[in-house]
């Protein structure tokens, strides 16, 4: 293999699994160290810069970082990254001094944000410090988009939501609420310098089965129903409720029903339990509240008596793997009838922009999604950019933040007459040695063997009575600091300098995870087999040195390295050093003047 180019930003970025997995590339280990040190405000601001909504995400994020956490590979359970984010948000001090300065003299460019959800808000935050005038339009009476309308208060309390939404709005956004956008053409006539479409995926899917029309008044679309609960139009639900669907919306629907007085709530999913789209913890929370989840039951028919809903007939199927894909085939058991008075339909949603005329230069693909450049998020109309769920279909809040950063860069470049694709700032990497002296490192290298800490919950009977009572209480400072210790500091990299190595084997002998091997070079496939411990995880890179004095090379398997620093600690010549990698992800702040 060729020597690894450790100065390419992507190499060490990928070693920080959580940061690599995060769409917004939040520097997770850095803020976790801040939490461990009790510096909550700084920890919060590191998050705020990357993902814009730390308090909201600390409660509601889909957490792509957690399954990626190295700890999953070394000891099964990941660091509770999301909950730690909340610790920073819950315990932070005054952030005023850390906020970017918004100039009072504007730069003369006007930007329209369509929709007031996370994507639009994040674009506003990125652009405001550069003197842009920002006008934001939304059909709802308040900002926040789906974070407000679809996430129930027992998961995300209103004050947490409002704090982070208002922070951005108050930076100088001209917000127009209760404004239903009916025509993109009309918007274009308002002659803004750029438009950002962040209107989400507001149309919930429906099921056209026998009986559907007759029972229309007993069926609600999940996201619409949650929205009417959020804005106070619905405050109760009675009788027996069936929630159809297996995603997070389904989980929110069933738990909300339970709190609004349903006699019984049942979730029925057409697929198997493991492949449900809902996050693991959402399923657990619903089940622990006594809500049954019935799997492998696709619905067949709505049963009614003169328009009065009686229940639903479901088919019994089982998953079978065919050509590597799951298929559901009938089990042969008789169909089942489940009685109900109301159905909440939570089987997915679509981005849907009927208000965008198809003849104004924005092209759509065959799925009716706008055709976008994946990097710049620019549509085929040079002034119009998309982000969040309206860009590539339903994702989540963290993706909305990630899109927003890219779109903001594109808008900034476009407004300066530059090319949004070719003139983007590059990624960068700084490596900073953490050695402070003999056996002294500026990070807490010692491995903490604690198991993942359990987050306390509110009293069950109290939280099931009141939709406003938050279920998860979050870690307190002590639990938070203990959970923070579990982080392996994957951003403190093992950096190897060939010319200093005397090949004494000290690092090989001390490495607790058998990551290091000195061997003759070979092709990757062969090399992976004859390392001290075989490197079976092909997703994790091998770090290969240049030729050493004896003609051998050093090969390090990054897979399960604990970043404990023992190799550097036992190296007599400092050929190994622990260096913190700071990955510079381009964001509008990269242009700071």
């Amino acid at each position: 293999m060729n020597p690894t180019d450790i100065h390419a930003p992507a190499y060490f970025h990928k070693v920080v699994d959580c940061q690599w997995a995060c769409p917004a590339h939040t520097p997770v280990p850095e803020y976790i160290r801040m939490i461990a040190a009790g510096r909550y405000t700084e920890a919060y601001m590191i998050n705020w810069e990357s993902n814009v909504f730390p308090g909201i995400l600390g409660r509601t994020c889909d957490r792509p970082c957690e399954p990626a956490c190295r700890r999953v590979r070394t000891e099964e359970k990941p660091v509770a990254i999301c909950r730690l984010k909340r610790v920073a948000a819950d315990h932070k001090g005054d952030i005023e001094a850390y906020l970017p300065h918004v100039p009072t003299t504007k730069n003369g460019k006007r930007i329209a944000l369509l929709g007031a959800g996370p994507a639009s808000l994040a674009v506003a935050r990125d652009l405001l410090p550069f003197g842009y005038e920002i006008d934001m339009f939304d059909r709802d009476p308040a900002g926040g988009g789906m974070m407000r309308s679809q996430i129930p208060a027992f998961r995300l309390p209103a004050d947490v939501l409002e704090e982070e939404v208002d922070l951005i709005v108050n930076m100088g956004v001209n917000a127009t609420y209760n404004y239903e956008i009916k025509s993109m053409k009309a918007m274009l006539e308002m002659n803004y310098d750029a438009y950002f479409v962040g209107t989400g995926a507001p149309r919930g899917r429906d099921l056209d089965l026998p009986g559907r029309q007759e029972v229309d008044e007993h069926i609600s679309i999940g996201i619409d129903w949650l929205s009417s609960v959020a804005f106070g139009h619905t405050s109760s639900i009675s009788g027996k409720v069936i929630v159809m669907g297996g995603g997070n919306t389904a989980m929110d629907c069933c738990r909300t029903s339970k709190r609004l007085g349903a006699e019984s709530v049942t979730v029925v999913v057409r697929s198997g339990f493991e492949v449900m789209k809902a996050s693991e913890w959402e399923k657990e929370d619903a089940m622990s509240e006594g809500i049954p989840i019935i799997n492998n039951r696709p619905p067949k028919e709505f049963v009614h008596e003169n328009g009065k809903l009686k229940g639903v007939i479901f088919e019994c199927v089982k998953p079978v793997e065919q050509d590597g894909r799951l298929k559901y085939i009938p089990t042969g058991e008789p169909d089942v009838f489940i009685e109900c008075d109301h159905i909440l339909m939570a089987i997915g949603q679509e981005n849907h922009c009927p208000w965008i005329e198809r003849d104004i230069g924005i092209e759509f693909d065959k799925w009716d999604c706008p055709i976008l450049d994946e990097v710049t998020l620019q549509s085929t109309h040079p002034k119009i950019f998309f982000g969040g769920d309206s860009a590539f279909g339903p994702e989540n809040i963290i993706w909305a933040s990630a899109h927003a950063h890219q779109a903001a860069i594109s808008i900034h470049l476009a407004c300066q007459g530059k090319d949004p694709k070719d003139e983007r700032p590059p990624e960068g990497l700084n490596l900073i040695s953490q050695k402070m002296g003999v056996h002294e490192w500026s990070y807490d290298a010692e491995h903490d063997a604690s198991k993942r800490f359990i987050v306390p919950h509110a009293n069950r009977s109290r939280s099931l009575d009141n939709i406003k009572v938050e279920v998860e209480l979050g870690f307190d400072e002590l639990l938070g600091s203990r959970e923070a210790q579990r982080c392996l500091n994957c951003d403190v990299q093992t950096v190897f300098t060939e010319r200093l190595c005397i090949e004494c084997d000290a690092c090989v002998d001390i490495c607790p995870m058998d990551c290091i091997t000195f061997t003759n070079n070979a092709e990757e496939e062969a090399l992976r087999d004859y390392l001290t411990a075989p490197a079976k995880n092909l997703e994790q890179a091998l770090y290969v040195s240049d030729d050493l004095e004896t003609g051998r090379v050093m090969v390090k398997d990054e897979d399960v390295c604990l970043h404990c620093g023992l190799c550097a600690e036992r190296c007599p010549t400092n050929a190994w050093d622990m260096q913190k990698s700071v990955i510079h992800i381009p964001q509008l702040g990269s242009y700071a003047e």
Partner: protein, 351 residues
């Protein structure tokens, strides 16, 4: 030394040996020696060998004297027996331990100071007595613990860190062991575990006195240009004579060598010791030939390594003394004082 404890967590694919342990179970506490010390690699080699042989850790007795080398038994086989004795007197303690319980695998770790200076007399006599043990000398040619004076194994003309040459002739422990009757003599290098680990395994299985002289560079005081025991010098001047490989009864014999270069020796436990000659002229069963070869190489500044001599039908101290097969420490009062009738019988035999 290192203050960060070695994490207990291990590689998820680390292999279990036949008794359900991993290599990590054969480790000791974290080394307090200087970073990069060759001795730590020797300790690691012992850990690997003992794990691969699937011997329970409590079946080992680790014995040592004084010096950097003699500290190392703390750093391997944490769950075994150990005795850190007086300077140069480890052989006496090892003899006692082996006499009391011949079922233990005795590993003595000593250094060039401990064995070639203060303990040179004890060393000679434990070899003569054929105590069944593995005796390792971590040989770095310097007194590291007292800041780098020349030791008795330092080659004449080799220089100190400051460039002062050594004026005296070295003691060669390999030649000495050959001369006074060791039945297993090897030399290796701490930086070459592919050679050292099989040697340790073969030595542990050898019945009789097994000696391995391991060149183990002192990174602090004897790893400079004028040294003949530095990582670089040893790598450049090493010539392996014979490779040893121990094949236990249940292991498959997989590697095939060119005919004529391989010799196989049956070991007492049923395993097979396979010797692969790397030099045409070298015979690992010829004690006097080996002695000559070692001395000549020494004169030319070469370090010859590998299994230099093995006597396949060696005996040990217990055989010489015709002791009972029950370990002495397991004999109970009725065995030791069988009563007046037995005494009468013994007395009668002298009449």
């Amino acid at each position: 030394m290192t203050f960060v404890p070695k994490p207990k967590v291990r590689h998820p694919l680390l292999e279990f040996n036949e008794i359900g342990l991993t290599r990590r179970d054969y480790e000791g506490s974290v080394s307090t020696l200087c970073a990069g010390c060759g001795h730590d690699s020797v300790s690691a080699a012992i850990t690997i060998a003992c794990n691969e042989m699937s011997i329970p850790p409590h079946r080992f007795a680790k014995l040592s004297g004084i010096g950097c080398s003699s500290k190392t038994p703390s750093y391997f086989l944490g769950a075994s027996h150990g005795f850190n004795s007086v300077h140069g007197r480890m052989p006496s303690v090892a003899t006692g331990a082996n006499l009391a319980n011949h079922e233990l695998y005795c590993i003595g770790v000593s250094g060039d100071g401990d064995s070639a200076s203060i303990g040179v007399g004890q060393f000679a006599h434990i070899v003569r007595r054929k105590v069944n043990m593995l005796y390792i000398v971590d040989n770095n040619g310097t007194y590291g613990l007292t800041k780098g004076q020349f030791s008795a194994t330092n080659d004449r003309g080799s220089t100190s860190k400051r460039g002062v040459p050594n004026l005296y002739s070295p003691i060669d422990l390999v030649s000495m062991a050959l001369q006074v009757g060791a039945s297993f003599v090897a030399r290796s290098f701490s930086g070459d575990k592919t050679q050292l680990v099989p040697l340790i395994k073969a030595a542990l299985m050898h019945k009789g006195f097994a000696f391995i002289d391991v060149i183990s560079p002192c990174v602090m005081f004897n790893n400079h240009n004028g040294s003949t025991k530095s990582y670089q010098y040893v790598r450049e001047h090493t010539a392996a004579m014979v490779d040893a490989q121990l094949i236990t009864p249940h292991e498959e014999i997989s590697v095939e060598y060119a005919p004529g270069t391989v010799k196989e020796v049956d070991m007492p436990d049923g395993s097979l010791l396979r010797l692969r000659k790397l030099s045409e002229t070298y015979d690992p069963h010829d004690r006097i030939g080996a002695l000559n070869h070692v001395q000549r190489a020494q004169e030319q500044g070469d370090v010859i390594t590998g299994l230099l001599y093995v006597d396949p039908i060696a005996s040990d101290l217990h055989e010489v003394l015709e002791t009972t097969s029950t370990p002495l420490n397991q004999l109970v009062e009725s065995d030791l004082c069988p009563g007046s009738e037995a005494l009468d019988g013994v007395n009668a035999s002298f009449r």
